[in-house]
């Protein structure tokens, strides 16, 4: 119990620190690297919650592929530290921070007020081999959604190629 709580609070502390850093550091590349750390922290949170496969996919997809793309693009851009990282406007800025804080507060309050949920211990475990069951569920009940997702990815791939080959691009043939 105690160990679990300590582990959780350490993880939560790291996650909050890193995600704060993502939005606060001026150099976008540093943001991206902090985001990688956040992703890895989330993967370990998934692992704690018994979702090993999702944790692995999180590392492979987010940390290993998506964020590498971000970092690569940022390197290509050669952006020096920005003079102004944040958008203008004192009032709107305050409003933005306030609304974000309100959402976080409401989430916290919602979690806190539903006492039964908060008090429930670590939750009912999913019986058996999670990965295997995940596969079975994905290819039976959610088969059609899965196929549609495949078509979405295909469309996105074509769209991205089209956008990045527009005239003047690094791959333009002329």
């Amino acid at each position: 119990m105690m160990m679990e709580a300590i582990a959780f609070y350490m993880l939560a502390g790291f996650l909050i620190f890193f995600s704060y850093k993502v939005i606060s550091v001026p150099n976008p590349l540093h943001s991206a690297l902090y985001l990688v750390l956040t992703m890895l922290g989330l993967a370990s949170a998934f692992f704690n919650l018994g979702a090993q496969f999702i944790a692995g996919v999180q590392v492979i997809v987010y940390a290993g592929a998506v964020m590498v793309l971000f970092v690569m693009v940022l390197m290509l851009f050669d952006l020096k530290t920005e003079i102004r990282s944040f958008s203008r406007g004192l009032i709107s800025g305050a409003l933005k921070v306030m609304s974000a804080a309100l959402i976080a507060g409401l989430a916290l309050g919602g979690a806190r007020s539903s006492v039964t949920v908060l008090d429930a211990p670590a939750g009912a475990a999913v019986p058996g081999d999670v990965t295997r069951q995940l596969g079975i569920l994905l290819y039976t009940k959610y088969l059609f959604a899965f196929e549609i997702l495949g078509i979405l990815l295909l469309a996105v791939a074509v769209g991205v190629v089209a956008v990045s080959r527009m005239k003047g691009g690094t791959h333009a043939r002329h």
Binding site: L42, A51, L79, S85, A107, L118, L138
Partner: protein, 108 residues
């Protein structure tokens, strides 16, 4: 008066709270940063926060529907990142900067 007992028993609520905090950070990035790529990172952060709550709910409910949702969200997030970066590259090629204000005029 802190309820130490409730704080020490890690349950769904703790994860939801954590997810809410990360989500709000992502929101701030989207609303306040000027660099489009950092805004995209904010979007990723929000999606990840939601994923965390999905997994926590799945654990609570004792079934795997939440995991499936996370799986789908991840796929779509990867696609979204691809599209977003392609647009950012296109903008960069034109203006040599990726400030969000270049996205505000919807013409070539």
């Amino acid at each position: 008066m802190l309820d130490t007992e409730a704080l020490m028993r890690i349950g769904l609520g703790h994860y939801i709270a954590l997810s809410g905090i990360i989500f709000s950070f992502g929101m701030i990035a989207v609303m306040m940063r000027k660099n489009v790529i950092v805004m995209l990172m904010g979007v990723e952060l929000m999606l990840n926060a939601v994923n965390l709550s999905f997994v926590a709910f799945a654990k609570e409910a004792g079934n795997l529907n939440g995991h499936i949702m996370v799986f789908f969200v991840m796929t779509i997030a990867a696609a979204e990142a691809g599209v977003g970066l392609a647009l950012a590259v296109a903008i960069y090629k034109k203006f040599h900067e990726v400030n969000i204000r270049f996205f505000e005029q919807l013409k070539g």
